[in-house]
């Protein structure tokens, strides 16, 4: 085992330091602060000289400078010139950790390991100064930005810190600068599991200042108005012995002897049932946390070095960084979006339909746009019921304390119902959410068009019809756009914005800007069946049903998709969306692409039955329902799991390749973005295309790859 030793010097890291000539340095500035008793606190400020939109990051050169400054301070401490050292950040930002875009460019495993060792070596100096070390967590702290405080002897935190997290597991790696060993030994195993594993897997949930304090990550918390002043005074108290530090969450003997292993065991089971065993980083993190129980720091850090080196050089991390950039960057600048300046202002919204979907739309529009929303349905009774249901939702938000009484009154007054389409006259945006029938949709649009201005946008939430066809009876089809939400509307972050051959830029821009106002990520797609998400799902589900129909057992089908690491099996997904809806989606796609998509009569029959799984009283699946087994009996050409896996992979690669050839979206990145946001496809797959490239499906399906070079590890 290689570990950093006393002989490690900055020379040991020259290779890694030379990798990024353009590293934005975060400097370590020292200023002396007089404290009581004539003593001195050296205050180290991390500052990259840019404003808060460019957070401090911890690249190799930054770490080397940090280490050099700490060495100087250690020498000063030895001379009696300083009596403590505290690290803090620039306004609003402590540090956002390593610059991961660069980490993904590391050339080999050995360099990845150096990255881990460099962090341990540099941050570890905080424990070797000969005087107490502190971190004043004054703002955003992520990853390495949390490991600096963890490597310090004491920590204070600003109560207004918006986010503190160890997001490594979310990105396919582990906290490898001490976090995995130090955190459980500071705040206990259960709290550490939450911070290192559970939160990253909950869409990268982060802690606010008070939560971090509550968990024991900081020893003291102060308000933002005089955070630095109070932290200095607190450190003064610790250095001069007047402040005693209590750590109630620090694990004791009993926790180590009993609770620790139990907690790890529970976490392991929860992980397996929630995300399966494909994703590597949560399990590597779990191993490290488990070992932290009774290993010393040196051993713990060495284990982190190895784990980080393995993961950084692996496929999953590279796919995860790709996925992360899609969600963080591409989603915010959608490909093909026209100039925002072309967007029309939406000052009133009309919703056609008052059913479940329409109500969700009305609520979302009124909350986010805060403009009048008028809904309509076939008769007064249905309309009134819709309005009443929306008003109740608003009232529930008030009861939960999510909105104030004034806001509740405002929103309630904004939502009205009508059966007279003339009340839509001054709407700038009308969205329909009626049943999926072409003629019905054509007619309601044509009817509304008589009253609204020629520029008002007509949006449809159709998932299976042609948007162009829906606008076929209109005088102004250029104002029609598809606006495809995912259920539940309030939660799912994706909208597919469907552009027909007639849709003009003003309409498209209005749709994109409106989607952003709704705080959704929009991807522009062509008006082709299933758009993106449903087409991919139909491919997978069609293959799954086809396999069952031809004699492959349900369990084998479920086995075949497990290596993807999807959030659920095909049949769990079918039950979630509803078997009827699922059967309809398969039918639609089969009709559109009969040679590539399967329909399934059995699925219609299963829909009649109402379920596939047999469930216990708590709703947990116990196995496949016997009646379901009976329905699908009779297939004679079963496949093995690996045969089916290859078939699905190749089918997906082929279909996505066709979609790109047909310009359904601008690039493979947009397919992946849709799958991540709309179908929960995992980061470690990079959505779908990096995975299909790396398993060879792209090569088999169309003799190429989606990405050049492929998004793979460096092993």
């Amino acid at each position: 085992m290689t570990v950093t030793t006393e002989t490690t010097t900055s020379e040991s890291f020259t290779k890694i330091a030379s990798l990024d000539p353009d590293e934005v340095m975060t400097y370590s500035f020292i200023r002396d602060i007089p404290i009581s008793g004539g003593k001195t606190l050296a205050l180290l400020t991390l500052d990259n000289g840019k404003d808060h939109t460019r957070p401090n990051t911890l690249g190799p050169k930054t770490l080397l400078e940090f280490a050099r400054v700490l060495d100087e301070q250690k020498a000063r401490a030895a001379r009696g010139e300083i009596h403590g050292l505290a690290v803090t950040g620039k306004p609003f930002i402590f540090a956002a950790g390593a610059d991961l875009s660069k980490v993904s460019e590391l050339p080999d495993r050995e360099t990845g390991k150096q990255m881990a060792q460099l962090g341990h070596w540099a941050l570890g100096k905080l424990g070797e100064l000969g005087v107490p070390s502190f971190t004043f967590i004054n703002g955003l702290a992520l990853g390495g930005g949390v490991e600096i405080p963890l490597n310090s002897d004491y920590r204070t935190i600003d109560s207004s810190v918006p986010a503190l997290a160890l997001p490594e597991v979310f990105l396919g790696i582990i906290p490898g600068w001490g976090g995995a060993w130090l955190l459980p030994n500071l705040i206990g195993i259960e709290n550490a599991l939450e911070v290192v594993i559970s939160n990253p897997l909950k869409s990268n949930r982060m802690l606010k200042g008070p939560q971090a304090f509550e968990l024991g990550i900081a020893d003291a918390m102060f308000g933002p108005a005089n955070f630095i002043e109070n932290s200095i005074a607190w450190a003064d108290g610790v250095i001069n012995g007047t402040t005693k530090v209590k750590r109630p969450n620090e694990p004791g003997k009993i926790e180590r002897a009993i609770k620790w292993d139990i907690a790890i065991g529970v976490a392991q089971k929860t992980l397996e049932s929630r995300i399966g065993k494909v994703a590597q980083s949560p399990y590597r993190a779990l191993e490290l946390l488990k070992a932290a129980k009774n290993t010393d720091k040196r051993t713990g850090f060495a284990a982190e070095d190895e784990a980080l080196a393995d993961l950084i050089s692996g496929d999953q991390f590279h796919a995860s960084i790709y996925a992360f950039n899609l969600v963080q960057k591409r989603a915010k600048r959608p490909a093909g979006a026209p100039d925002k300046a072309l967007a029309r202002k939406v000052t009133k919204v009309g919703v056609i339909g008052a059913g479940l979907m329409a109500r969700q739309f009305a609520l979302l529009f009124v909350r986010r746009l805060q403009v009048p929303v008028v809904i309509t349905d076939l008769d007064q009774g249905a309309t009134d019921a819709g309005v009443a249901a929306i008003h109740k939702e608003i009232h529930d938000l008030l009861e939960k304390g999510r909105i104030s009484p004034d806001e509740s009154n405002r929103l309630t007054a904004l939502v009205t119902g009508t059966t007279n389409k003339a009340d839509f006259a001054d709407c700038d945006w009308v969205i329909e959410a009626i049943y999926e029938e072409l003629e019905a949709k054509q007619n309601v649009f044509a009817e509304v068009e008589k009253f609204i201005s020629p520029e008002a946008v007509l949006a449809t939430n159709t998932s299976s019809l042609s948007v162009e066809q829906i606008g076929a009876k209109l005088e102004h089809p250029e104002r029609v756009v598809g606006f495809h939400f995912f259920n539940p509307v309030a939660v799912m972050p994706l909208i597919e914005v469907v552009k027909t051959p007639h849709t003009n830029d003003e309409t498209l821009s209005t749709a994109m800007v409106t989607a952003a106002s709704l705080r959704k990520n929009a991807v522009i797609t062509k008006d082709t069946p299933g758009f993106v998400v449903n087409r991919i799902l139909a491919k997978v589900l069609g293959e799954a049903m086809h396999a069952v129909d031809t004699g492959t057992p349900f369990e084998v089908v479920e086995e075949s998709t497990r290596p993807f690491g999807l959030p659920m099996t095909p049949f769990e997904l079918l039950e979630l969306v509803g078997l009827k809806v699922g059967a309809h989606v398969l039918d639609t796609h089969h009709k559109a692409f009969p040679d590539r998509f399967f329909e399934s009569t059995n699925l219609h029959r299963l829909a009649e039955l109402g379920h596939i799984f047999e469930r216990d009283s708590k709703g947990k699946a116990k196995g496949i329902d016997k009646a379901a087994l009976k329905i699908v009996k009779g297939g004679t050409t079963p496949m093995t799991a690996s045969e089916l896996q290859v078939r699905i992979e190749d089918g997906l690669a082929d279909e996505i390749h066709r979609m790109l050839e047909d310009n359904v979206v601008a690039a493979a990145e947009d397919i992946d973005l849709c799958l991540i946001l709309g179908a929960g496809y995992p980061f470690q797959m990079g959505g779908a295309t990096p995975y299909l490239d790396r398993v060879g499906a792209s090569e088999r399906a169309f003799g190429g790859t989606f990405h050049t070079p492929k998004i793979v590890g460096v092993n």
Binding site: L43, N226, I232
Partner: protein
């Protein structure tokens, strides 16, 4: 009918005063943050007062724009974490801003409208030079209401020398030197530090902490002072050495009725006896405290001989000397500015009034033999302000 009340000075704190400008320690610190830090420091050390009991917050600033605009008393109250139910307002009487904050709150208390309030001031002269953006009415000049020179405080100080030729430059320099020496001694003896609220200061090279006035020059000598140039007139008498500088800083105080102080278990540091403001010719604004002090003494039924301690704002040495001379007090009378003054510590215009009160209050505690004290200051455009205080620690005959 509201009940009239006795007014007391409960407590006061200030930030260390900085040197204005890009090289000054507060260049990267906002004005509102300065006064908010002072207020929080003050509120934190008087925890027995429920925050929702503050009836009003008066904060002064001379140049009310940018980060010291927007009704700073209200914004500062919100930023300092006072409940939204606590109102606030902004005050401007140039150099006597904080003093006027105190008298405004005191007036409200005396009338019975308030029980307790916060009064203070702030001036970030680095970010907001005096008179910046002002648009004086052309009638001032066309009708010769005020000469152009009146807007330049250094010129008005030279005019005092003109009027009182026996108040020489050498006397002014000697007074300035003493101010530096007394301030240095006060710091050495820990007199000022207890009422300073440290301020975290940001620079391009990291966070620091302001714990001491930045403009102090303990190394000052008479020879050095004599050699300084006179920027306001060739061969003039007013120099950077015998004037206060351009500074950044903030002050805050708690003013209460005697009853409210009792209710909250607070021990008042001073009792307000009287106050007065007065106007003089703007061209010689520095003599303003003479008529305001005479008026305040008259209202109090006291004479200058009753005053045992003086805290006089040293906008200019000559301007303090003119007051002392008027009342027949020696230049180096030990009752005057025992711990030095604005020449050494600095004069962030609208914050200085409360600094005088903080120092007088601390001196009262050390001098139970003294019954009355005076805080007084000159004000731009020809004004003076004076507040007379009684020492609650007074042990002598009444």
């Amino acid at each position: 009918m509201a009940k009239q009340a006795e007014v007391v000075f409960v407590d006061g704190v200030r930030t260390p005063f900085g040197r204005a400008g890009e090289k000054g320690m507060y260049w990267n610190t906002r004005a509102d943050d300065l006064v908010v830090k002072a207020m929080i420091g003050l509120i934190d050390r008087n925890p027995s007062i429920p925050k929702d009991r503050f009836d009003d917050v008066a904060i002064a600033a001379t140049t009310q724009q940018g980060d010291q605009g927007l009704t700073i008393g209200r914004t500062a109250a919100l930023l300092a974490g006072l409940p939204k139910s606590v109102p606030g307002f902004a005050i401007d009487r140039m150099c006597a801003g904080a003093m006027t904050s105190v008298t405004a709150i005191a007036g409200g208390i005396a009338f019975g409208a308030y029980d307790i309030g916060i009064a203070g001031g702030v001036e970030h002269m680095g970010r907001h030079p005096m008179g910046f953006g002002a648009d004086p009415n052309p009638r001032f000049l066309s009708e010769k209401l005020v000469s152009g020179e009146a807007l330049n405080m250094g010129n008005t100080a030279e005019r005092i020398h003109d009027r009182f030729p026996h108040l020489t430059k050498e006397r002014a320099d000697r007074f300035a030197l003493a101010s530096q020496q007394k301030a240095f001694a006060a710091y050495e003896n820990g007199k000022l530090q207890p009422d300073l609220v440290p301020v975290a200061i940001r620079s391009e090279t990291g966070w620091g902490l302001a714990t001491r006035d930045e403009a102090l020059r303990p190394e000052t000598t008479l020879e050095g002072l004599a050699a300084l140039r006179t920027p306001f007139r060739p061969h003039g008498r007013v120099t950077a050495g015998n004037s206060s500088g351009l500074n950044d800083g903030a002050t805050a105080s708690i003013i209460a009725s005697a009853d409210a102080a009792r209710e909250f278990g607070l021990k008042p540091k001073m009792r307000m006896v009287s106050f007065a403001f007065a106007g003089v010719e703007p061209e010689i604004m520095g003599i303003g405290p003479v008529p305001s002090t005479e008026k305040a003494l008259r209202k109090a039924g006291l004479t200058i001989n009753d005053i045992g301690l003086f805290e006089l704002n040293e906008a200019f040495a000559i301007q303090v000397l003119s007051l002392l001379d008027h009342f027949g007090i020696d230049d180096d009378d030990p009752r005057v500015n025992q711990w030095g003054g604005a020449i050494a510590m600095g004069h962030p215009l609208a914050s200085s009034g409360v600094r005088l009160m903080i120092q007088l209050a601390a001196q009262f505690a050390e001098h139970p033999e003294v019954r009355y004290g005076l805080t007084a200051m000159c004000v731009g455009l020809g004004q003076g302000g004076s507040v007379i205080w009684e020492n609650p620690n007074y042990k002598g005959k009444k």
